[in-house]
């Protein structure tokens, strides 16, 4: 995947790529591929690994992105799932990101072929396409506990009655009490599918959704939802309503956990004040379709505008 990205980035004139080091062998394989020289006809960018230590903790991603932003990166390609993208979004500021789905929960990032993604990211980073037409500002859920920011969540924030974060995954729907989503696609998998199957909300819509949940035995309605790969569970629903940016949402239970983008992250007790807000000021993502459409119209990859070869 990375070598495809490098081929594409080189093809559109990107001279330098910053990469995060790792201990899992990815950086090693990239170094080896670079040392072996790219295939004939391809010019790869110079690959520079960030000077940072790896602790194998989430903060590694945060430090890497901080380094990339500080170095003036024009775009960041993120290989990971919702959790990784959430970490990136917390520190990338206005640097555009291109999330490619490779993680555990993958509602936010898309499944796209890496070569095309590389072309799109390269064209954006090189400033060859206008930002206004090719970048998309995402919604986020800001989660505060006692006034301190603990978010954002890019897709969903779920409130559950479990006392402990435990092994983090959410697979017991009977413990869910509330679900807030930034968007909800009917064909999604994960907690946002609950909202997506009730009242789909697009990424482009200005609002999100709040769904109040309770055990199916006592709920007004029940829904079969694919809340995890291979897990279709009955979920009890008592209320669905739209939520709008800036309006503070409170949680209904006094003690429990908050799952951000499908992973339990925060334990709260009765003395904690939890507030959740939908925000329109999330990360900028590169829209591959918009970029490549613009590239075709402008002939960015042909050296001339395409009217001679386009539709009559």
């Amino acid at each position: 995947m990375i070598t495809r990205l490098l081929s594409a980035l080189g093809a559109v004139g990107i001279a330098r790529v910053l990469m995060m080091p790792d201990v899992d062998g990815i950086a090693h394989r990239v170094r080896r591929a670079v040392d072996l020289r790219p295939p004939p006809g391809q010019a790869w960018p110079e690959v520079v690994f960030l000077d940072m230590s790896i602790e194998c903790v989430p903060d590694d991603t945060v430090h890497a992105v901080e380094g990339m932003v500080a170095a003036g990166a024009g775009a960041i390609v993120v290989l990971g799932g919702d959790g990784t993208n959430r970490l990136v979004a917390s520190v990338c500021g206005d640097t555009p990101i291109l999330p490619l789905s490779t993680g555990t929960n993958n509602v936010f990032p898309r499944v796209r072929e890496a070569t095309i993604a590389g072309l799109a990211a390269g064209l954006v980073a090189a400033g060859r396409v206008p930002s206004a037409e090719t970048l998309f500002r995402n919604k986020v859920l800001q989660v505060e506990v006692n006034g301190e920011s603990r978010g954002p969540a890019l897709v969903d924030a779920a409130i559950a009655s479990d006392r402990w974060i435990g092994s983090r995954a959410v697979w017991r729907p009977e413990s869910l009490r509330q679900l807030f989503v930034t968007f909800a696609e009917a064909d999604a998998i994960g907690l946002s599918s609950i909202a997506g199957l009730l009242r789909p909300v697009s990424r482009q819509a200005t609002h999100g959704l709040r769904v109040d949940l309770e055990p199916p035995e006592t709920a007004a309605a029940t829904l079969l939802a694919p809340i995890a790969p291979g897990l279709i569970a009955p979920v009890g629903v008592s209320r669905v309503e739209e939520v709008f940016p800036g309006k503070a949402q409170t949680v209904q239970i006094s003690q429990g956990v908050i799952a951000l983008d499908g992973e339990r992250e925060i334990e709260f007790v009765p003395s904690d004040r939890v507030v959740i807000r939908l925000d329109n000021d999330g990360p900028l993502t590169i829209d591959i379709d918009w970029v490549m459409a613009r590239a075709a119209r402008e002939g960015l990859l042909t050296g001339q505008s395409s009217p001679n070869f386009g539709e009559k």
């Binding site: 201990v23 899992d24 062998g25 194998c56 479990d162 006392r163 402990w164 974060i165 435990g166 092994s167 983090r168 003690q255 334990e267 007790v269």
Partner: protein, 322 residues
Amino acid sequence: MELSKDELLKAYWIMKAIREFEERVHVEFATGDIPGFVHLYAGEEAIAAGVCTHLRGKDKIASTHRGHGHCIAKGCDIEGMMAEIYGKKNGLCAGKGGSMHIADLEKGMMGANGIVGGGPPLICGAGLAAKQLKNGGVAVAFVGDGGSNQGTTFESLNLASVWNLPCVFVVENNGYAEATASKYSVACDDVSDRASGFNMPGVTIDGHDFFAVEEAAREAVRRAREGGGPTLIECKVNRYYGHFEGDAQTYRGPNEVEKIRESRDCIDNFVKRVTAAGVIEPAELEKTDREVAALIDRSVEKAKEASKPDAADLLTDVYVSY
């Protein structure tokens, strides 16, 4: 079902007992009074406690060379353990096994094991017995990252899957097989990645987090008891001491252990969370601390005073009479 207050207090007792036991053995070993080698479990307490919290008397565990924590968590007598480590006649194995072979079959502890990867085949046998006897028993193997690379472990994962045995394989990945980093020696990113190759669920969790371990273990043990077959749980953790006492740990980074003790200690983490949640009062934990400290002191005193085996004991506990 979440753990009750009593269960959480018991888990704390177990973790504290392991920690105090290991820290004391670390001190006493330096005097030269303890024969053989010891391999300390300090830092990994949440794993033994989190897994064994869901095991009953009829369930079996097989351990590694780093077995003191598993012994304590499975309910072995601490005074008997200390006596065994000192090689004394009243030890759990009559002073003949030492640290690396502590066992108590009555408690379902099939033994600490000096053979790397020696535990998994044993629990396949224990799991098969439970299945044949239909007694609802579960067998758990603890194995290290080094042990996870052994052929015996691979064979056991396969057999447990093929025979649908009520087994749980707990890989305690502390990052080092002796002095070899698991980042080098384990070919996949996570040991749990191997589970799908054996058609069983696999999960990687933070071994410093008692609640993560117990939740994963709860599901795996429930699944095994209900006939759902084996599970592989990888717990990523750090050991505080060397592979063995006397290991200079030149292979670890500067201040590596200190940083982990300060920021990720499993007992500190547990205390912070149970007191913040209002489940257990600090005074109750302090009472446990005092009880455990007194027990460890007593066990060392008694072990030092106890007798060593006699020459006649050489001819007992063997298969052949001479």
